[in-house]
């Protein structure tokens, strides 16, 4: 059975209060189109988890959809900071759980393995650990190893209701090809339902030519949504580079709530879907300028 869905229908079925894990990383392969549609459909009270947050997370938090955020920090790389997230943290408007990159990825790994927790020495001695333990429903515990008595942090597995990643290719069965590093593989595999937005839907015949590139096999996948340029203005290796001008602009507007809201009004609420958004910023001419050179992938 085909797992192909439209962005509108897949977002429509996500309930308020859902736990969503996001797969982007700063300015690369961020599921921006998905997040735009979540904002358009005015979802609320979400829990979001992510290893290193990126532009899509800042948008979702800035638009007020998120109640709880579990992450290891994030940025727009040299373009700037995730100021909508920072602002909500500073004002105490988010239930914030800060981890390190590895402890977050191990929580996803535990979720993907179907085990309830995973031990590590990451976080020991840090202020993140102190703050996490101080929460009234702690997701971490410091325990002795049953084998050598040594001290470890036991991390609770993450089992998001939905994980959402943006990848280069998938077939209608949900076999996902990721080109380049795949920091989001465990995030994808930990979910109860995995939604993959892709640049291009390909045939299973194509998938079978490159089985070594299938980072997420179809058994994990709930829905495949074809959204060309779905990570724009962030980069998709071998498809397009990030749009420098757009990211510089975003790193300016996210410093103020008012400017950020104007950005949402113009680009998210002011367009009916992602195709219209791409048209609005310049369409084919604009995206052609950032098309990847096949010998480099950017």
């Amino acid at each position: 059975m085909s797992k192909l869905k439209t962005l509108k229908e897949v977002v429509a079925e996500i309930p308020d209060g859902a736990h969503i894990a996001l797969g982007g990383f700063a300015i690369t392969r961020c599921p921006v189109a998905f997040v735009f549609e979540m904002i358009r459909q005015k979802k609320k009270d979400l829990t979001v988890s992510q290893i290193v947050a990126g532009m899509e997370t800042d948008l979702l938090v800035g638009a007020g959809l998120v109640k709880k955020l579990e992450y290891s920090g994030g940025s727009l790389d040299r373009f700037g900071r995730l100021e909508r997230i920072n602002d909500k943290i500073d004002k105490g408007l988010l239930d914030i759980r800060e981890y390190s990159g590895m402890s977050m990825s191990m929580r996803f790994l535990a979720g993907s393995l179907g085990v309830p927790f995973i031990p590590t020495k990451a976080l020991l001695g840090t202020e993140m650990l102190k703050n996490l333990i101080a929460k009234n429903d702690p997701e971490v515990k410091v325990c002795e190893s049953p084998f050598d008595g040594d001290k470890y942090v036991y991390l609770k597995a993450l089992r998001p209701d939905y994980s959402v990643i943006h990848a280069q290719y998938a077939d209608e069965k949900g076999n996902v090809i990721i080109e380049g590093p795949y920091w989001d593989a465990e995030t994808a595999k930990s979910a109860k339902k995995l939604i993959v937005t892709v640049e291009q839907v390909v045939s299973t015949k194509f998938i079978k030519k490159f089985p070594e590139k299938v980072i997420v096999p179809s058994v994990y996948t709930y829905a495949v949504v074809e959204v060309p340029y779905g990570a724009y203005p962030t980069a998709v290796y071998k498809f397009y580079d990030y749009d420098r001008e757009m990211l510089e602009n975003y790193a300016k507007v996210n410093k103020s709530e008012e400017e950020f809201n104007k950005f949402l009004d113009e680009y998210v609420f002011g367009t009916k879907d992602f195709t219209e958004f791409i048209e609005k910023v310049g369409g084919v001419d604009r995206v052609n300028k950032i098309k990847a050179d096949p010998s480099y992938g950017y």
């Binding site: 990383f25 700063a26 300015i27 690369t28 290893i51 290193v52 990126g54 992450y71 290891s72 920090g73 994030g74 940025s75 790389d77 040299r78 373009f79 900071r81 997230i85 920072n86 943290i89 500073d90 800060e98 981890y99 390190s100 990159g101 590895m102 402890s103 990825s105 191990m106 790994l109 590590t120 020495k121 990451a122 976080l123 020991l124 001695g125 840090t126 202020e127 993140m128 410091v142 040594d150 001290k151 470890y152 380049g180 590093p181 795949y182 920091w183 989001d184 593989a185 465990e186 980069a235 290796y237 580079d241 990030y242 990847a292 480099y296 992938g297 950017y298």
Partner: protein, 254 residues
Amino acid sequence: MVAKYTTNELMAVTASRLLKDGENVVVGLGLPQIAALLAKSTHAPRLNIIYEIGVINPEAEEMGVGIADPRLWNESECFTSFVGTLGSILQKGLIDVGFLGGLQVDKYGNINSTSIKTEKGYRHINGSGGAADIATFSKRLMIIMKHEKRKIIEKVDFLTSVGYLNGRNSRSEAGLPMCQDIKIITNLCVFGFDEEERSLKLLSVHPGITLEEVVENTGVEFKIPEMVKYTEEPTEKEVDLLRNSIDPLKMYIK
């Protein structure tokens, strides 16, 4: 022969000389990456350079805006995941040297990259990313940062990454793996740590900088050896490599 050089070039060269051939290093963007590439093109051709995002030994033709920039992934030897780098390489104990920057560092080498205390309360900046893990599991740590009185201080506003924690044996008592060495390379000097107390100690002052300048620009007391050494200067070959092959667009070498 000693070359004319800039401060950033001196910092990159100093860091690169602390790397040995065959070692595995985790780096971030900027001077750490430049230092690792310089070591690789001089005395350490078999250095393995690992980026936490899941990229091993790339050969970038252009510097990027961060490790998420595909420019940095050019001609890699391996693509993997976060678990593949920070988990089964770093946590397994295979990283010799971790490079870190930060907003603040304290007298025990603890680093803050999360938030800063201001008059209006805390101001969140970035968070850990892989930094805390790199500090926990690398055998040696190299911290590269700008030397300012408000950045090298008694106690960090937020302890993101553990150095020697509260000095002496406190790091291992807290359950962390051993850290053999921590060095801080600034634009004024190189700091190490006293072997007993594990507190900040001056190792060398950059040529042209006085001890007084270092003291004035440091927000915490530190040990000063009887004979203060100067940091060794770059060679012409090193400066030439930095300018003409490693960072020709001068993105990080200014």
